[in-house]
Symmetry: C2
Subunit: 337 residues, 2 copies
């Protein structure tokens, strides 16, 4: 027994398919009586709308695509989780693609999503992608709603959702300053990304506001892995650095490990604050102070923004900022907190 169609229902009730369609859609052009009949029959026959046919006819799908560098990164999987939890109840399906941090994969992913007529694309760019040129024309011709998150570029998409990376770094750095650390340095990532540009700026702002000078000897970019953190921690310590704000937790972990190796006491002799609040932060010893990015909330915000745009709700901004929250743990608890 093949799946019943509206035509089957129509035949069974001796009416026409269009009436069935309208009845199921709840159109006011169909009488209460027949609507009831149709609904009952549909249920009885186990009817399920053929989404393909419907989408083809209507010209829109209830599918949205998400492109992330890697799904198995805590930050991104939280975003996916949050977005899915909002989109699914709203009747949307979420298609996932990974760019594996490659521009070419990213382009291909977008291509595939467009071919699948997604009604929206939610994207966080790969690290390899340095600007939005390649996507501009690709996306321009179509009517899909595009929302960028976390790693975003100007001149593309309807909206972007990002963390308050500036404030995130500023508050963490300020916390180190207030905790009495001196000669505070910065470990960041690739500065072609808005994320690290903003964090660096936040660090610098906190320093400037406290009347402290920024010393290039204590500044490390392209340093977000555990290994790099370990490696550069050595340099930093050697040069007299007293504390580090790290724009990534893995680098901060490297710093802690270096300190442990060298017998440098954290937080007494050296302070560290990381970023992302990875799930190892309260497990490492000493536990790592970090900035929570509220990634799940970012996911729901992205999804909600998408739904708002779809429902024609005018957005009063083109940038949604998700607040971050400093979590103080042992690695920076020099003074009583």
């Amino acid at each position: 027994m093949p799946k019943p169609t509206i035509t089957d229902i129509a035949k069974a009730l001796d009416i026409t398919a269009s009436t069935v369609s309208r009845a199921l859609a709840g159109s006011p052009k169909v009488s209460q009586a027949t609507r009831m009949l149709v609904e009952r029959k549909a249920a009885e026959m186990g009817y399920e709308r053929n989404v393909l046919a419907s989408s083809l006819r209507r010209g829109v799908t209830d599918t949205v695509g998400m492109v992330v560098p890697r799904v198995n990164r805590q930050f991104f999987s939280n975003i996916i989780s949050g977005a899915e939890a909002v989109l699914n109840p709203a009747g949307y399906n979420l298609i996932i693609s990974q760019s594996h941090e490659h521009s070419e994969d990213e382009r291909r992913a977008i291509q595939t999503l467009l071919r699948n007529q997604v009604s929206g694309i939610l994207i966080s760019h790969s690290i390899e992608t340095k600007d939005a040129e390649a996507f501009k024309d690709m996306l321009a011709s179509t009517g899909v709603t595009v929302i960028q998150f976390d790693r975003a570029f100007e001149g593309i998409g309807d909206l972007c959702v990002v963390n308050d990376n500036f404030e995130c770094a500023r508050s963490a750095t300020r916390h180190l300053i207030e905790s009495g650390y001196e000669r505070i340095g910065y470990m960041g990532g690739d500065e072609s990304s808005n994320v690290y540009v903003d964090r660096k700026a936040g660090y610098m702002a906190a320093m400037r506001e406290a009347g402290l000078e920024v010393n290039d000897d204590y500044m490390f970019s392209n340093c977000i892995t555990r290994d790099k953190g370990f490696y550069n921690a050595a340099k930093a310590v050697e040069r007299g650095c007293g504390a580090l704000y790290c724009a990534g937790d893995y680098a901060a972990l490297g710093v802690i490990e270096y300190a442990r190796d060298k017998g440098i006491k954290i937080p007494e002799d050296f302070g560290v604050v990381g970023t992302a609040n990875e799930n190892f932060t309260d497990v490492v010893y000493p536990s790592l102070s970090s900035v929570e990015q509220n990634s799940t909330e970012m996911g729901t915000a992205v999804a909600k923004a998408f739904l708002d745009i779809k429902s024609g709700k005018a957005l009063n901004t083109d940038k949604i900022i998700i607040p971050t929250r400093l979590i103080v743990r042992d690695s920076s608890k020099r003074r009583k907190y």
Copy 2:
């Protein structure tokens, strides 16, 4: 300018749409010459096949759905990552749904996927789901390929892919025995799940094989969280237990923390091995021995099995077993290793 269709291409070349369709499909029924012409024209006009129309006509989609309890769990996000990496290049899209560990959400997710005519469903059941009854008839009527992974039930689906949970627990327990620990206990999870049933059996087997007796005082089920681990570690120690094989890393973490609190030395006075090789295991102090589940590999295996089934390749089994690998770290290194 709306998207060009095969009809547009046909008109431009003064041929018919069916020829264009066949040309693009690489059918042998069309001449080399026109195939070239069509391909050139298609590229020139920026043609992209309308997947919806194609799927509607063919009666199949190139979409597969995956249902997991939560996407933001390392284990599952690795599986998603692995599966996506195989399916995407093969021309399939992956739709993600979360059951949030609820049977009802799970049922709804499957329903939605079926309505979207996915050509396959890859599913790991929610903890709340105790058997496959609710899905049997739902899935039976359709022709979708169903593959269960990790948490699987009998009598449903075409295939299942699981870890070697028995061997996983056996090797870990044997390792504890060989390291000279005595009175070794077990911390497991809910035994309505095949996963924990098998792990418990593996633990028991290792004990039996070593001629050791299993003491119920050292057995804890429904104990996979950090809190429960901490709580039950107290009981275990009090009762004279000397080491624990934990079927989950979080419980093992709780055990380590209890020991640290009480000044019990790990690995000297107490041994712990966890399961899953969560990314905090080599960060916690002392580092936690654990069993790697090769989750990414499980994802690729699931996806490959799906592709095999689709391509009509006969499978010589209905159960694929992904091997695990014991990683010995400090928490169980009593003897020189």
